[in-house]
């Protein structure tokens, strides 16, 4: 992938924005144990990455933004940063895969990329928990059921309903993020008076 100077600078802006959100807001939300902080960060990050994709409509540009944000997070102070780093990179990879499949940019593709990216937040503890922190799948599962109980008010014995409900919520929030990113990109296009491919 060969990018021009202008494209590299544009990707740097979006990478810096995602990195900044993860460094500043991410640290604050994790410290105060804000509920669903992962979803909030993932939504903001994906909106930034997807808007970035509109401005640099090249294969690999979303991943490039994710790599910049990951490196900025790696060299930031505070917290266990391996989890968020894995999160940023995986979300960027998922969005990149979805965006790379169809040739043309469309709102529906953005919605799908956002939905899958945010859905990863639900799955990530099952991967990083056992691998990085030695937590058993069972403990992670119990945490998930507890979250479902708090959010949906369902008894933990309705495990399938809880998982299904949480998945739908995550997919819907992610889809909304994708929808919003398309709108923001359009607004930006109007504001900057810059022709952007795809609209």
């Amino acid at each position: 992938m060969k990018l021009s100077t202008r494209e590299l600078a544009t990707l740097a802006v979006f990478g810096a924005l995602w990195g900044l959100v993860e460094i500043s807001l991410g640290s604050v939300l994790k410290t105060i144990h804000f509920p669903l902080s992962g979803v909030v960060l993932s939504v903001i990050g994906l909106i930034i990455a997807l808007v970035g994709r509109v401005f640099v409509p090249r294969r690999g540009s979303t991943l490039f933004i994710g790599v910049i944000a990951t490196l900025l997070k790696l060299f930031s102070l505070g917290g266990v940063i391996i989890g968020p780093m894995v999160g940023i990179l995986t979300e960027a990879i998922m969005a990149e895969i979805v965006l790379s499949i169809p040739g043309k940019q469309r709102r529906a593709v953005f919605i799908m990329a956002g939905a899958l990216g945010v859905a990863w937040v639900l799955l990530q503890p099952f991967v990083t928990g056992p691998l990085l922190f030695g937590r058993t799948i069972f403990t992670v599962w119990l945490d998930l059921l507890d979250l479902g109980k708090k959010l949906l008010g369902l008894n933990p014995s309705f495990a399938a309903w809880i998982v299904g409900g949480l998945l739908v919520i995550h997919l819907a929030i992610g889809g909304l993020a994708g929808w919003l990113s398309w709108d923001i990109a359009k607004l930006l296009q109007n504001r900057l008076g810059r022709p952007v491919q795809g609209f």
Binding site: M1, K2, L3, S4, T5, R6, L8, A9, T10, L11, A12, V13, F14, G15, A16, L17, G19, L20, S24, I47, V51, F55, F64, V67, I68, L71, L72, L74, F75, V80, I81, I82, L131, L132, F133, G134, R135, T136, F138, T139, L142, L180, D183, I184, L187, L188, R191, L192
Partner: protein
Amino acid sequence: MDKYLGTVGYLAIFLSSIIGMMVVPAQRLPWVAGVCILVAWRIYPQVFTSLVRLHWLIMIILLSVPPIFLVGDLDRSITGISYSSEGLLSGIQIALRILIVLISVQGLTSSVDISSIAGLLEHAGLHGLGFSLGVAMNLLPTILKSAQNAWRSLWMRGGLRKKRWRALRLLAVTIFVNGLSRAEEIALAAEVRAFSPNTARSMPIKKGKWDWTILTLSVLVVFGFVFIP
């Protein structure tokens, strides 16, 4: 130590610690932790002073204590408090893993600078990453300031009282526009100086005498921990 170890060496130590911790059987984890602590103590001793903080201790306790009472049967008791021996082992494992992650990350970030990592990734195929990363790092304070200004002006004009959704969207657009116009200036300045990402040299990678030896040793140690019975 910088004379002997370069980016590849430090990265090999970091990755072997993390991979080792992830793939090694649970009963060998104390050995992995021991090796990691020994290596870190020899290579980057400054890490230990930065790790002696209350928030790390609280985090380790928060993550490792619950399994003592939640995992397995409560088959033992101490001063009237029942606990699970299986959970205790699990809690110790979690604490060791967190310790390894903390030591590895702090060690890597205190010994290697961000441009070296960018240089390594550029060699791996992400051309222009060094330039982008440099721009991103220089942009961080500008973007932060611009975001704060936009937020304050929105707040002071009462923009968040009504139509909050619209206000937040406008806030995002303002931050994006400021960032993009700054990027435009940087790109123009780079082009005026005849910078081209295709002809520019990659970011330099710090090299050390023992890099490849350390890399080989790291691979062997991880394989040893996993496969030697």
